[in-house]
Symmetry: C2
Subunit: 369 residues, 2 copies
């Protein structure tokens, strides 16, 4: 059941029903503009990752500032974006299963779609789905550039898979997917630079070997919010897949030399109990603000520490002479991790200068498949 | 956007689209029957907690086996259950905010509703909401019996709050809420017994002091799946609020002397990559199977360990001579924590003997407010 929106345009922030997903529009637009300005001189294009925002409304604002398309991780996300008017979508992930591939192929009537593979079995499955749909499907080879999760090794195994794609009558070889996920949150700038130097060299070598076999590589995609300046400056990566930059979160803020973006995403929560001395309980537990990357922070309220989360309760400890907020007060939390937090909500509540300005659906929320 | 169901009745389990929330109906019904049989001789009644299952369909099956009603944590959950035909609902939590209280009062036309307080400010707010709605609202006093989260101290502070409720013309004093959440997962049976002995003594003392002031205590509610046999045997608790027993999870299974229920809830996931030696990647990361209580387990597949979760990927390590499953195989995961896992899905897929038998909506999913 779709939940009703927790606010109406014009309301004061303190009138919003909680827990709610707040988007500070000034900070959000600053982040969109900053990324566009940083990428403009590099030649690399933005293909922002929609697994973070789950919203065609936000995707269109990224594209209005120069993004060439969107990445998604799931077919359900590709559907939500295509239905919302996004013309160019890459599933930066494997899609396994005939039913899912058929759904992806079915979108090609209204959007350009592409998908990644890291197994020859998947090349055959993509070929079958594309043939059944009467289309030519663009397929990228995912290479493992250090995350040790998905992806064939760079070099000859990647070239062999690309040749298989190119030899498939209903497929088009689209390039390389070279995302180094685990590098994004390495704390020191040097560690991140080293990791991406290795990823870049692996991609460069593979592109050259493909060229020697007569295969052009239109897309070399990768990068995230923690490392994108390295990939953008590499001369190898053509597309930057950053997602979190639109929102930021407490975990990215813990990076040394953190990304140059403002915190725009918050969970608004209400003080619901003050019965225990030194404790203040919020109506936002880990169902409302996931803790996979640590506890949320209380924004702009020193002396209040979000110490633990249960299903529906967040326990704040009052420390360092902090003042306990009154029952009913609404506080902004900075999520530990923006992606799963967004996925908990049906609505963004866009606020500017303390007032609700807009409500946007998280249309791809819960898009499991 | 409500996602379409990932299966149809009659399908084989291996045909279900993934990630999906699987309910093994034989194990589920065993759990319903077992709880009913365990409570029957005690005199304590089941008021099962719907924050776990989020489903009026499941709630009705609990009530058909003798449950007197349901607990919820949120007004949105109360709404979903009342709309689904559940006649008696206790919000076992504080409801802070005039708009939420008005929604709760508005349900009283179709269901008996009750709510908890732990602050005199909340007694006044409940009185105002009940008066505005032209009803008498049942209000319980939450006492802190050891969890140090919400609840006034047992004894005189609880009595004072109860007297305030009883003196409010539009409120009815309904009893005590005495849930010891943190006791549920204490690993040793002795620790759990000790914690609940303390909770029981605190509740017994408060009931006696209320009686001395002429206040009857129709409900003394509490208990969870980890401790309910103690509360049920106490002679003090009248209502048992266990929720997880219908499903179980990996964390409850780690208790010594674990609860006498079977694992009925699973996340079905597909092997989507086998490109990295020794690794097998599933399409279920922490968005699909939350990790707040630890990683999920792979059911019935020794030698496969779910080692880490990212947003959409679960990394299995192949250990101890385990066999790597082929690309496309679907595996059952035992969630670390059942409550937030259910809340990730729009649908239960009920399976029996390898076939899909039913699809039930998680109607209260995402009910934040």
């Amino acid at each position: 059941m779709l939940q009703p929106p927790p606010a109406e345009p014009g309301m004061h922030e303190q009138e919003i029903d909680t827990p709610a997903l707040l988007l500070d529009l000034d900070a959000f637009e600053h982040n969109l503009d900053t990324m566009a300005a940083l990428l403009a001189p590099t030649g690399a294009k933005l293909r922002a990752h929609a697994k973070t925002h789950k919203s065609a409304v936000i995707a269109r604002q990224q594209m209005a500032r120069g993004a060439v398309g969107q990445c998604v991780q799931k077919v359900a996300e590709a559907e939500a974006l295509a239905w919302g008017g996004i013309p160019d979508i890459l599933v930066s992930n494997q899609v396994v299963g005939a039913r899912k591939l058929a759904r992806l192929v079915a979108l090609s009537g209204i959007a350009s779609v592409a998908v990644c593979v890291d197994d020859e079995v998947q090349v055959a499955a993509c070929e079958a789905a594309a043939e059944a749909g009467g289309i030519r499907l663009t397929v990228l080879v995912e290479i493992d550039v250090g995350a040790a999760r998905c992806g064939v090794p760079p070099g000859p195994p990647a070239v062999a898979l690309a040749e298989r794609i190119a030899a498939s009558p209903h497929l088009i070889f689209g390039g390389l997917q070279a995302y180094h996920g685990s590098a994004q949150h390495r704390r020191s700038p040097e560690e991140r630079a080293t990791a991406i130097a290795g990823a870049t060299e692996a991609a460069r070598r593979t592109v050259e070997q493909l060229r020697q076999r007569g295969l052009a590589c239109p897309i070399v995609g990768g990068a995230g919010t923690g490392t994108f300046r390295h990939e953008a400056a590499s001369g190898v990566f053509t597309e930057i897949q950053a997602g979190s930059y639109v929102f930021m979160d407490a975990d990215y803020a813990r990076n040394q030399d953190p990304p140059p973006f403002r915190q725009s995403l918050f969970v608004l929560a209400t003080v619901m109990s003050r019965a225990i001395p030194g404790v203040c309980v919020l109506d936002a537990g880990h169902k409302a603000v996931p803790t996979d990357s640590g506890m949320p922070l209380v924004a702009s309220r020193p002396g209040l520490r979000y110490a633990s989360a249960s299903d529906e309760h967040g326990k704040l400890l009052i420390e360092d002479g902090g003042a306990a907020p009154p029952l009913g007060e609404k506080l902004r939390l900075v999520p530990g991790h923006c992606d799963p937090t967004v996925d908990r909500y049906d609505w963004y509540v866009g606020v500017r200068k303390g007032r609700v300005e807009c409500l946007w659906p998280t249309a791809a929320r819960g898009g499991m498949a």
